[in-house]
Amino acid sequence: MAFKQNSVLPGFGLSLGYSIFYLSLIVLLPLAALITKTFDLDWAHFWSAVSEPRVVATYKVTFGASFLAALINLVTGLLIAWVLVRYSFPGKRLIDALVDLPFALPTAVAGIALATLYAPNGWIGQWFAAGTPIGNLFGPEGLPLAFQPIGIVIALTFVTLPFVVRTVQPVLADIEQELEEAASSLGASRWQIFRLVILPTLLPALLTGFSLAFARAIGEYGSVIFIAGNMPFKSEITPLMIISKLEQYDYAGATAIAVVMLLVSFVLLLAINGLQWWSARRLGRN
């Protein structure tokens, strides 16, 4: 077989075969079922289901908010990973464990907690409400956080926090100190070392973390619906659209929207993966 390589590890055929079988069973099969279901619709109905203005508005909200949330986590995730790798301080392990909590918490619980916190009368929301010093900076109505698109970004940021931290952390820990010392001896400032030496090395890991966070955010439902306010054309997310179609027994319509989401996500992830492959190749391997 052309792919077969001589290797000290036996079982190439068996393990590859099993991997493909498993992926088919777990990933491909449900997705294929999803796509077949859409064939219940003819093209005109399919198109009208997925291009309905209210649905199109949800695409913008979902992909926009997911992108923003992933972007925020790209920056803060790098910062958290940096602090956890580079410094030692009391309670470091505790904070390290804390990072994974958003994974463990039921998303609905997170959504309710966040909605309570960020509501105009909540602990955090009250500081941004109308008439408060901070709120006044944003105009007479203050800056409402919950029940707005901004609330969706908050919820998604919370849920996708661990991805960037966990992908960047090991790579950052592996960067040899000598690289920074070499750059320093060549006259580079701290900022130049970070920008020119550390950041390019972290780029593939950052991209992986970003794409994982982005993908996770696109599919997120539980935490968002409690804080989003779910106003049509404003703060409705695509998964909510799918659920509401299901509740009206419009299974074909629901799957049509799902297929669109799936396609867009797939193309975006493929693009990010390509970018990541390209940047990893430039780094080379020893």
């Binding site: 040899e176 000598e178 010392e181 070499a182 750059a183 006259g187 580079a188 400032s189 020119l196 080379g284």
Partner: protein, 349 residues
Amino acid sequence: MSIDIRNISKRFGNFVALDNINLDVASGELLALLGPSGCGKTTLLRIIAGLETADAGQILFHGEDTTAKHVSERQVGFVFQHYALFRHMTVFENVAFGLRVRPKETRPSETEIKRKVHELLELVQLDWLADRYPAQLSGGQRQRIALARALAVEPKVLLLDEPFGALDTKVRKELRRWLRRLHDEVHLTSIFVTHDQEEALEVADRVVVLNKGHIEQVGTPEEVYDTPASPFVYQFLGDVNLFHSRVHEGWAEVGKGRIPAPDAPDAPAIIYVRPHEIDLSRVASGDALHGEINHIRILGATIRLEVDVEGHDAVEVELSRERYSEGGWKVGETVFLTPRTVQVYSEPQ
């Protein structure tokens, strides 16, 4: 530029890495810091570079105190054992790095950078690799690029930390000759760290032998090899046979034979003899040590014989190939050993 190292001390916890080191490095010389691992040689180099801070003492560059200066301001070129090349940059960009990170006012123009980088790549004879990435180069090539990168900033001092330590023997020999030639061309004050005595003796103008945070001896390669200042230096700079004995009226007895120790006081002593400074004979002369050949190993140009000496452990004798075939030595033969040169150190009581 000259470097003065004054009273430098450094500890890591309870471990004393450097204990009050004083050393003057003359302008333009190539100095080797030689010692076993853990002797503090790398720590000293890093303190000179500013990558490590000393607990006490001063580093003076050309008479000017640089102790408080950051590494980025010291104008030192530093070469690491494992190259520390930037993997995401081409060879060209690696070498250009030091020029590109300069502040705008002093940064050379793009054409100037190009000219300079190619000049340096020609100096290290690797101009044809400019567009490759470090991962595509061999170890020896990487280290030459690392050297070109360090030279790009026109350092006042070049510091090399075990520069050939990660290379295989053949490349290592080639590169150290090349480094010597390069130094003769550029004449930059250079300090390199090594644990390989052969490397230090071959390349350096002067050798500093370090042990346990102390300087044991400073001198030219001939000086340290021919007149070692301490038993440690003697032992470290090549293979050695040790005889524990007692000196009595200028002679140290070993079995039925004896070794001359003319100036040594009457006391227990350790006598050092290098394996290649022993004559073998089948005829017993007055003082020769008696022994029996136990093992013969052929190591290319030299032959090493292991001789069981009466009243002592095995002694190693090295013969050139010609002398070995002339003698026609066999395992099991009884032989008589006469050391040509010996070094006697009174044993601490």
